[in-house]
């Protein structure tokens, strides 16, 4: 009996020990469907895929796939927002407060672009030489453009103060997760320019996809440089980069301006986000906010702007408007479709930058400016009848460029940045709602979470606009 007892207890103990010994692997069971950092940066294809993921963010309804543009348009002066509710109403009323998921999601998505780009940049050593330039150039472009889009919405514009020392946005150049305070607007713009220039220097001149430009080339970096410099009212640099993009000869103005947002039709896109039904549909928030054929549009125009934009029957772009498709709404029809390929910056804008910058610079560039604006005018009016004469003054060219910019880029979130840029340039308030271009509510509030994570984080003052 005693022997038996001893034997049995021993077996028990051995059994327990064997179980214990097998446990280290047993406890290493992560869920599937997730990759670790080591796994991702083990192959070039993964790193390429990570970059592809960022492209989809650019077309994402929470970020530049319509959200950035819609919130910009709400801050602008073309919309009738009296029936907007919730976050949209606050932003439309230029009294955005500390809470608001619509804004927070956009902010977060913008910074997710930046975080993923930083993640790639910090692990470039893992990328083989073949892919390194593209991986690096893309990541720098993504980081630069995202910082630029965000600083325009969350900070007072470049030119708000003489040294641009007004608070900008947190400048995230690493993947560190600590809270950081806001850099100045100058620091943000300097970094944006530096990133875009670095991107320009390493990105290829051709996407290698037969002229579709579904991935970044040096031209999208330069197009953004043109936009950034133009926003800074730095006309020489804006002209320089717009000029290089145009002279690359890679892009053509569409004969029909309606093909700019369409499925596969545009030749204008400097970077084009392709649509793949059921896999990736860029620009969803353009469609959901503006669409007016299948539903009442969320965003629609004031009578004032509607009359202004449709007042000239000769303008072919009048076809973009309707007040009968949904009675009671001054609708935009530009985005009345199920899907589109989204141009992330198009040649029309680049021509308009070169036109206005060229006129601002004067001298030899004025002639280029006149040719540029006439290209746009001839297309809009179906002939040369509205073209400026070869001897047009710089002021006339600037005026025409600004007018055509508003009409061409309607629904693209452009107007509010023009109110600010022109304000900074001339000191004039061109806002149809009468607000000074410097008023607090013209920019968005930061997500409150920034301050909760760091009590010293400086929020924007609110209100003060009409």
């Amino acid at each position: 009996m005693n022997l038996h007892k001893f034997y049995k207890i021993n077996i028990l103990i051995i059994g327990v020990l064997v179980m214990a010994g097998s446990c280290s692997k047993f406890l290493d069971k992560p869920p599937q469907g997730q990759l670790s950092k080591d796994q991702v940066f083990a192959t070039d294809s993964n790193i390429v895929a990570l970059g592809n993921g960022i492209y989809t963010y650019l077309g994402d309804g929470n970020f530049t796939g319509g959200r950035v543009q819609a919130l910009s348009d709400m801050l602008g002066d073309q919309l009738d927002g009296s029936n907007l509710t919730g976050d949209f109403s606050e932003i439309y009323k230029r009294q955005n407060s500390i809470f608001g998921g619509t804004r927070d999601d956009m902010y977060k998505k913008g910074y997710l672009v930046i975080a993923t780009a930083n993640n790639i940049l910090e692990n470039l050593q893992a990328v083989s030489a073949d892919h390194q330039a593209l991986a690096k150039g893309q990541a720098l472009f993504f980081r630069g453009m995202a910082h630029f889009e965000l600083v325009r919405l969350f900070a007072q514009p470049y030119g708000y103060s003489s040294d641009n020392s007004q608070p900008g946005i947190p400048l995230r150049l690493t993947t560190a997760t600590n809270s950081i305070s806001r850099s100045t607007v100058k620091q943000v713009y300097d970094q944006v320019v530096a990133d875009l220039k670095s991107a320009d220097s390493v990105l290829p001149a051709d996407a290698g996809d037969g002229g579709k430009f579904y991935t970044a080339t040096k031209w999208i970096a330069e197009a953004y440089l043109a936009k950034v410099y133009f926003q800074q009212n730095d006309f020489a640099n804006a002209f320089l980069y717009a000029d290089q993009v145009i002279k690359s000869g890679k892009f053509q103005l569409d004969a029909d301006f309606t093909s700019r947002y369409s499925l596969g039709g545009t030749k204008e896109a400097i970077l084009r986000l392709p649509n793949q039904v059921s896999h990736f549909q860029p620009g969803s928030e353009f469609i959901s906010n503006w669409r007016s054929d299948t539903k009442n549009p969320t965003l629609y125009f004031t009578n004032q702007f509607y009359n202004y934009a449709t007042g000239d029957a000769a303008d072919k772009r009048v076809a973009w408007y309707s007040n009968t498709i949904k009675p009671g709404y001054n609708s935009l029809t530009k985005f009345n479709f199920n899907y589109m390929e989204q141009p992330l910056t198009h040649l029309t804008e680049i021509y308009l930058i070169r036109a206005e910058a060229g006129a601002e610079l004067g001298g030899t560039t004025l002639a280029t400016a006149i040719t540029d604006i006439n290209l746009i005018l001839a297309r809009a009016y179906g002939g040369t009848s509205r073209n400026l004469s070869a001897g047009a003054t710089a002021t006339a060219v600037i005026d025409a460029a600004r007018t055509q910019r508003e009409l061409e880029m309607v629904g693209e979130g452009n107007r509010v940045q023009e109110i600010k840029r022109i304000g900074a340039r001339t000191g004039n308030n061109i806002d149809r709602r009468g607000s000074p271009w410097t008023c607090n509510g013209f920019i968005l509030q930061f997500p409150k979470a920034e301050q909760d994570a760091n009590a010293a984080f400086q929020l924007n003052p609110e209100g003060g606009c009409f």
Binding site: H4, Y7, K8, I11, L12, G15, V16, M19, A20, S22, C23, F26, L27, P31, Q32, G33, Q34, L35, K37, Q39, A49, L50, N52, G53, T56, N83, T85, G86, S89, E90, K93, Q95, S97, I98, F99, G100, D104, Y107, K108, Y111, V113, A115, T116, R172, A176, T177, I180, D209, T215, Q276, H279, F280, N296, K448, A449, Q451, D452, A453, A455, F457
Partner: protein, 1023 residues
């Protein structure tokens, strides 16, 4: 991987196998009958255990028993709830015993983790609720029947959706982002009870507990302090709910049939103004804002149309639901083999049209005494819950009827040829949308109990919980007009939860006065839940997949074979590997001591903290047995107990401790995508709870008055927080244990039961319990808005309870202009609203809660009732603010209680002037930011939870009949509610976004459907 798992388990099986080979002994079968000493009636369920053994049997309903004992056994111990225990020497093959009612439950055997203990020796805080209490009332899910039954256990019953789950809090909540829900253990297996398996789809959290069959439950033990939950180590912090299912008893086969038939409706609904009144109020708001002419109406509705329409959406969406519940069980046993089987069907239609929860269940539990010292037990159950879902809350349906489905909107177009589709119309989805959620759960286990030598018990248990869940939706072409055929989708997931444990129990009695019980054990748990990489699987088809399983299989298999489209993915996976030990020592049968230690390792824990150690110590003193207490008059029993221990909370997701990337289900330009999906933290570990408990259990007047008073002091540290990071890192969450964080839960519990009249024919008893929990965040360093409960305005603030309401204070209405007067942070009146005025004004945690019951019996008649109550705490009506702004451009239904509003100068009113735009109140940015104490309410209520009238046919009459026992009853639940809460039903469990929301916002309502009120009739018959 699979091979390894098998290998890991091999030693357990090996040990058990070998052990069986060595067993031999001589046996004797003892039979007999147990009766009540008072009237000779048979006693069922009496525990009969050979002295020195832990394994025995229990008596059958006719009092008979049969037990095989070894030759070494000379004495049997008989014990039963409410009766004294008795030791009887075995003098022959037949032992007949009479037990005397003591009316004390002190010898009751109750279930503890990995074993049982006599109640007088229990050193931890454990509340027991009998299975009869669980199955007697119709509830959407079994845990709701615990409400008011156990002190310190707060149950907020799920809302009116069929099958919805309750919020269960044991002695408060000490977590923020980790779940505050208890661990559920069924027959020794920790089961999957996560209410967020399907997130918050359709404004309802899937409730895995609803598939558990209440008719299967023998008892529920709720473990509350470290003395009780310590044995569950890293998973004991939120308390443990042990569910023990019924097992066969010796004796002739006994069949039990019980049913319930009845109707369901709602407890309290909100009253809204009708169409004409809504229009009138809309016009009032329009003019108040300085507009002229007729007010604009939403959705293109004209005044002419609106004034001719007066739709009652609530009535269109509700019904009197039918409740239908049948259960047939069988218990039979010989000395060798005991069997319990049960078949159940139940259907709860609820009061929402097209909503129903149907449960079918089958159980087979068997115990086979293969050898006198070897018992093999099988525990198996299959349950299938089918939830016919409807839209609710923010997702539509009855939520629309309380929000944006206005009485001025039409159901059909003017020619009645189609639905009116331009404005909110929940009738469309009622008729044209169908959703079935089917949850199948197979829970099976095999246990071997072997006694190799005297007083040593080795038990090996392997169990598997297999779940399969399909969430099916179908849109008819009428709903989805872009599709010509209809649109079906299915979101499948399936899980496997395996648990294997091995315990050894050794009883050692060195001398008459010393009793030791050593327990040593190890446990492995491995859980995997899988789904498809692309979810849901969809198709344009004319029928839902549940009616067309062949088509679904074809589609799925074609997608699977192509591989690029879908693959199987283990979305959730975790393991636990544990070792534990428990020493119980009883001295003189008066002093009991217990030491527990458990080591838990888990795949959930970060690489830097893979294992944790959790110790607990507790003691009990049956002080009334001391000589110096003997002379205290009327005192029949007094026990003091205390415990201290460290337990953990590991109730959070897995794979959170490393940076994660996932492959996109989308492509970019046809090429694969990859996303950075979350940032991890290798230091992630369990939350740590220091738990102190002290209590006195008492009996007076010959135990006619019994009860317990308990005090506890619990502090949680290393609190897991998910949000509160800077969003400019690109993420808003990283799971981490917060430094310098501490939450206190401290409280008092009191429960008592008094048998006022205890005659032969007439019995009257009352009982009740009340608990006070003080919840306070002691240490916390983040800003006030860093953590919020979902979309609700509840917060975490140092010095205040978890889930404080953080709102602007509404002072009243200025009679001169009807504008609201607010209080700023300093309490100064202002008429300009600002989010900067927000302050801490209330808490969603109650001050007191509990229940009381009474039972009156006269001969065969019984009248019993249970009341539950909550005193103190707040409800925040998150949807109330929009209902008040209903006639603004928010365009919601307007509640009648808001009619007390300002209309002209000089009016003294409760609510301010109506506005057409919330921003017309100075400083209000938009209606979303209109959170103020205007919609903060007292949460106190008293509810008649249950009222039952029953009649049991006398035994004398039954003898002529086929039945051994026959009872008929009528039960009503939630019949009466007393509350000042204006927002309808004060018992609120809304849909939650995540565990943090559930912890912080239990009393926040957002279009929450009121709980059910039911009336049922039924019988219980034994034959």
């Amino acid at each position: 991987m699979r091979k390894k798992r098998l290998l890991a388990r091999t030693p357990v099986l090996l040990c058990l196998l070998l052990a069986t080979l060595f067993s031999y002994a001589q046996n004797q079968t003892v039979t007999g009958k147990v009766t009540d000493a008072k009237d000779g009636s048979p006693l069922a369920g009496v525990s009969i255990v050979p002295k020195g053994s832990a394994r025995g049997t229990s008596s059958a309903p006719d009092g008979s028993f049969s037990l095989t004992v070894t030759a070494a056994t000379h004495t049997l111990i008989f014990s039963s709830i409410g009766y004294g225990s008795k030791q009887v020497d075995i003098t022959g093959d037949v032992v007949n015993v009479q037990l005397t009612a003591t009316n004390a439950s002190m010898n009751e055997v109750i279930v503890v983790g990995y074993g049982t203990q006599r109640k007088r020796e229990v050193t931890g805080a454990i509340s027991r609720v009998g299975g009869d209490k669980i199955s007697e009332i119709p509830v959407p899910s079994f845990e709701a029947a615990l409400a008011g039954r156990a002190p310190g256990v707060q149950i907020i019953q799920g809302n009116g959706l069929a099958g919805s789950g309750s919020v269960v809090r044991i002695r408060g909540v000490g977590s923020i982002s980790a779940s505050g829900d208890p661990l559920y253990v069924v027959d020794g297996t920790p089961i999957i009870a996560d209410p967020f398996l399907r997130g918050n789809g359709g404004a309802m959290n899937q409730n895995p507990l609803s598939s558990i069959n209440p008719n299967d439950i023998e008892s529920i033990e709720i473990l509350k302090d470290a003395g009780a939950t310590g044995i569950y180590g890293s998973r004991g912090a939120n308390g443990v709910i042990l569910i023990t299912t019924k097992r066969g008893r010796s004796g002739q086969p006994l069949f039990t049939y019980s049913n319930k038939l009845g109707i369901a409706t709602y407890t309290k609904k909100l009253d809204f103004v009708d169409g004409p009144q809504w229009l009138q109020l809309r016009q009032e708001a329009w003019l108040n804002d300085g507009h002229t002419g007729y007010a604009s109406l939403p959705g293109g509705v004209t005044w002419a149309q609106a004034s001719q329409t007066n739709t009652n959406w609530w009535d269109l969406l509700t019904q009197k639901g039918f409740i239908d519940d049948h259960s047939l069980s069988m218990s039979a046993g010989t000395s060798k083999l005991k069997t319990f089987g049960n078949l159940t069907y139940s259907n709860d239609q609820g009061y929402l049209k097209n909503n129903a929860y149907t449960r079918i269940g089958a159980r087979l539990n068997m115990d086979y005494n293969a050898l006198p010292n070897l018992k093999i037990s099988l525990t198996s159950a299959y349950n299938r819950g089918t939830n016919k879902r409807v839209h609710a809350a923010w997702d539509g349906g009855i939520g629309d009827a309380m929000s944006s489905a206005l009485p001025i909107y039409s159901v059909y177009n003017s020619s009645h040829s189609d639905y009116y589709r331009t404005t909110t119309n929940p009738v469309i989805s009622l008729n044209e949308y169908r959703r079935r959620q089917t949850d199948q759960r197979l829970l099976g286990g095999v246990a071997l109990e072997y006694q190799p030598i005297h007083n040593l018990f080795v038990r090996g248990n392997y169990s598997i919980e297999s779940t399969r869940s399909n969430d099916d939706q179908f849109n008819t072409p009428q709903l989805d007009t872009s599709k010509h055929t209809g649109f079906a989708q299915r979101s499948p997931s399936w899980g496997k939860n395996e648990t294997a444990n091995l315990t050894a129990n050794y009883l050692w009695n060195p001398g008459e006065q010393h009793k030791f019980n050593f327990l040593l054990g190890t446990e492995l748990q491995d859980y995997t839940r899988k789904g498809y990489s692309t979810d849901p699987i969809t198709e344009n088809t004319d029928r839902p997949f549940w009616e067309n399983g062949g088509e679904y299989k074809r589609l799925r298999d074609s997608l699977l074979s192509a591989k690029v489209h879908i693959t199987e993915v283990a979305q959730e996976r975790f393991t636990f590997n544990s070792f534990f030990a428990r020493i119980n020592y009883t001295f003189h049968d008066k002093y009991s001591f217990q030491l527990i230690g458990r080591v838990d390792g888990s795949s959930k824990f970060g690489t830097n903290h893979k294992h944790g150690f959790f110790p607990a110590a507790s003691a009990a003193w049956n002080i009334s047995d001391e000589d110096f207490m003997k002379d205290i008059p009327r005192l029949s029993y007094l026990k003091l107990r205390a415990s201290y221990g460290i337990v953990g909370n590991a109730n959070f997701g897995s794979g959170l401790y490393y940076d994660k990337y996932n492959r996109g289900t989308n492509t970019y330009n046809g090429l694969p995508t990859l996303y950075l999906n979350g940032l991890g933290n290798p230091d992630l570990k369990w939350e740590t709870l220091h738990n102190v408990d002290a209590a006195a259990e008492f009996g007076f007047f010959n135990n006619r008055l019994t009860g317990e008073i308990a005090y506890y002091y619990k502090t949680t540290t290393n609190i897991i927080l998910n949000p509160g990071v800077s969003p400019s890192i690109g993420f808003t969450s990283i799971y981490r244990n917060l430094n310098n964080s501490k939450i206190l839960n401290q409280g008092l519990e009191f429960s008592a039961n008094l048998r006022i009249i205890d005659g032969k024919d007439l019995k009257w008893s009352v009982g009740g319990n009340i608990a006070r929990n003080q919840n306070k965040v002691l240490e916390y360093e983040l800003g006030p808005d860093a953590v919020s409960g979902g979309t609700n305005d509840t917060r975490i603030v140092k010095g205040l309870p978890v889930g404080v309401n953080y709102l602007v204070r509404f002072y009243g209405v200025d009679p001169s202009d009807g504008l609201p007067i607010w209080l700023d942070k300093n309490g100064k009146q202002t008429k300009t609203f600002s989010l900067d005025h927000r302050t801490y004004v209330g808490s969603v945690q109650p001050d007191y809660f509990g229940g009381f019951n009474t039972s009156l019996q006269y001969k065969g008649f019984e009248l019993s009732s249970l009341f539950t109550f909550v005193i103190g705490g707040n409800i925040y009506e998150n949807s109330g603010k929009y209902q008040f702004l209903g006639v603004s451009k928010k365009f919601w239904n307007f509640r009648k209680d808001f009619l007390d509003h300002w209309t002209k100068p000089g009016d003294i009113s409760k609510y301010p002037r109506l506005v057409a735009d919330a921003a017309s109140y100075p400083g209000v940015p938009s209606e979303d930011q209109f959170n103020s104490t205007m919609f903060l309410r007292s949460a106190s209520y008293l509810r008649m939870r249950e009222l039952t009238i029953a009649y049991r046919v006398p035994r004398a009459t039954l003898k002529k009949l086929f039945f051994k026992d026959f009872r008929i009853f009528a039960t009503g639940t939630n019949l009466l509610t007393f509350t000042k809460y204006p927002g309808g039903d004060p018992e609120i469990t809304r849909d939650f976004e995540n565990s943090q929301d559930r912890n912080l916002s239990p009393n926040i309502t957002y279009l929450t459907a009121p709980t059910q009120k039911t009336f049922v009739f039924g019988i219980n018959a034994n034959f």
